[in-house]
């Protein structure tokens, strides 16, 4: 339990306690982070706060798409460079979280597209992702978590995105809809198809 005096001190420095799970320092909410970023003297501190707050969520979103850590790291760094360049123009009619996810999604898809073009021997996207999974040092085809990843890698791009965002990131459809610019009905259908295909794959492999 955080005492009120500590919360008061945090507020004086523009910090807002959000969740007891995150400890005393908590996280600044997006509005406070953006305000900090827009003030010239605290621009870098505000940006650093955004990176710290969202890096893990965005990293895993990207990693599940590109599979390899080094690729995910490259894409994530590029995402934050784009955020730095574009944050001045960010309008708060969209949520910061949604905006960041949209950039991360586009960067991941762009990366996959570029990788496909560079392949000397063109593979299908599923083939490429399967190869990346098998190249992981920890890969163990007998383990359920790897079977699930193999199953996800067989999905079409859109279904893969929707399944990851819903199943792993536990996002509401309305938020996925904002990020992918797709109707909630279409997203529900995608998730339904994806879940059925994954179940079939796991049961048959």
């Amino acid at each position: 339990m955080v005492n009120e005096l500590r919360i008061k001190v945090l507020h004086q420095y523009g910090l807002y306690y959000i969740s007891s799970q995150n400890g005393l320092m908590g996280e600044m909410d997006d509005a406070a982070l953006l305000a900090q970023f827009r003030a010239e003297h605290s621009k870098e501190a505000g940006f650093s706060g955004i990176v710290r707050k969202y890096q893990e969520k965005l990293y895993w979103h990207i990693r599940r798409m590109v599979i390899d850590h080094d690729d995910a790291d490259d894409v994530l760094q590029n995402v934050f460079i784009k955020v730095w360049k574009g944050l001045d123009g960010f309008r708060e009619d969209a949520r910061l979280f949604t905006w960041l996810y949209r950039i991360a999604t586009n960067e991941s898809l762009g990366f996959l597209e570029q990788r496909k073009k560079k392949q000397a021997i063109p593979l299908s996207e599923a083939g490429e992702l399967t190869a990346s999974l098998k190249a992981d040092k920890q890969f163990d085809a007998g383990k359920l978590e790897w079977k699930l990843q193999m199953a996800i890698s067989q999905l079409p791009e859109k279904q893969r995105l929707v399944f990851n965002m819903r199943y792993f990131d536990e996002m509401p459809y309305q938020q996925i809809s904002e990020i992918l610019n797709t109707s909630e009905g279409a997203l529900k259908a995608s998730y339904h198809h994806a879940a059925k295909k994954i179940e079939d794959f796991i049961l048959n492999h």
């Binding site: 990176v51 040092k137 920890q138 819903r166 049961l203």
Partner: protein, 219 residues
């Protein structure tokens, strides 16, 4: 965020087997990755506005930017002063190298001629032909059976390698050869017999072929 319970209930309806599975995250990340990432990104961002290499180095690594850029390698004394002259010398010697193929080609022609002479010598003194080296050209021609292909080939080779003097002796006007080569001379002289013979010879030849012949022979 949707609650885990809500997502679980949805999944149980769609894919009950999948909903029952307890699945862990399989991917690993390097230790301390998320601790270091904000600093890595900050360093990259600080290079965005850098206009010079020095500014960029300072932003990326202050240590690197402060290191002396002096090269630890050494060059021989006066190396750069003598370099232009040395380069010109190289250029001249490169010019001589260009001539090499000509000298090489001459040598090759000499070698080829020598080989041909040896082959001709072997042919002349070998028993595979019917021409004796002591025969005159006239004797060889007279001995040649014009219906025998091998004999005609022997004659052909013989004529190629026989000396100019012997050939000149053979083509000197004489009673035997005059009949053979006189047809066109008679025609040119305007004698009636010659004109008739020429008319017979040219009967099957078109005007175009004649013009071609005259053009080629520069008459």
């Amino acid at each position: 965020m949707s609650s885990r319970k809500e997502i679980q209930q949805e999944l149980e309806k769609i894919a009950p087997e999948l909903a029952q599975m307890e699945i862990r995250r399989p991917f690993a990340i390097p230790d301390g990755y998320f601790t270091q990432l904000p600093a890595v990104i900050a360093a990259r961002i600080s290079t965005l506005g850098a206009e010079s290499v020095q500014e960029e180095s300072e932003a990326l690594s202050p240590l690197l930017s402060e290191l002396p850029k002096k090269m630890p390698f050494s060059v021989p004394e006066g190396y750069f002063e003598h370099l232009p002259g040395a380069a010109m010398k190289q250029d001249q010697s490169a010019g001589k190298l260009v001539n090499m193929p000509r000298r090489g080609a001459g040598w090759r022609f000499t070698a080829a001629a020598a080989v041909l002479l040896i082959i001709a010598g072997i042919w002349m003194y070998s028993g595979n032909h019917t021409v004796s080296p002591t025969q005159t050209v006239a004797e060889v021609v007279d001995d040649t059976n014009h219906n025998d292909t091998a004999a005609r080939q022997d004659l052909f080779h013989y004529v190629q390698y026989v000396s100019d003097d012997e050939i000149m002796q053979y083509v000197e006007p004489g009673p035997a050869s005059a009949n053979t080569y006189s047809t066109t001379d008679e025609a040119a002289s305007g004698s009636p017999a010659g004109g008739e013979a020429l008319s017979l010879l040219l009967a099957g030849i078109t005007d175009q072929e004649l013009e071609n012949y005259l053009a080629l022979s520069d008459i």
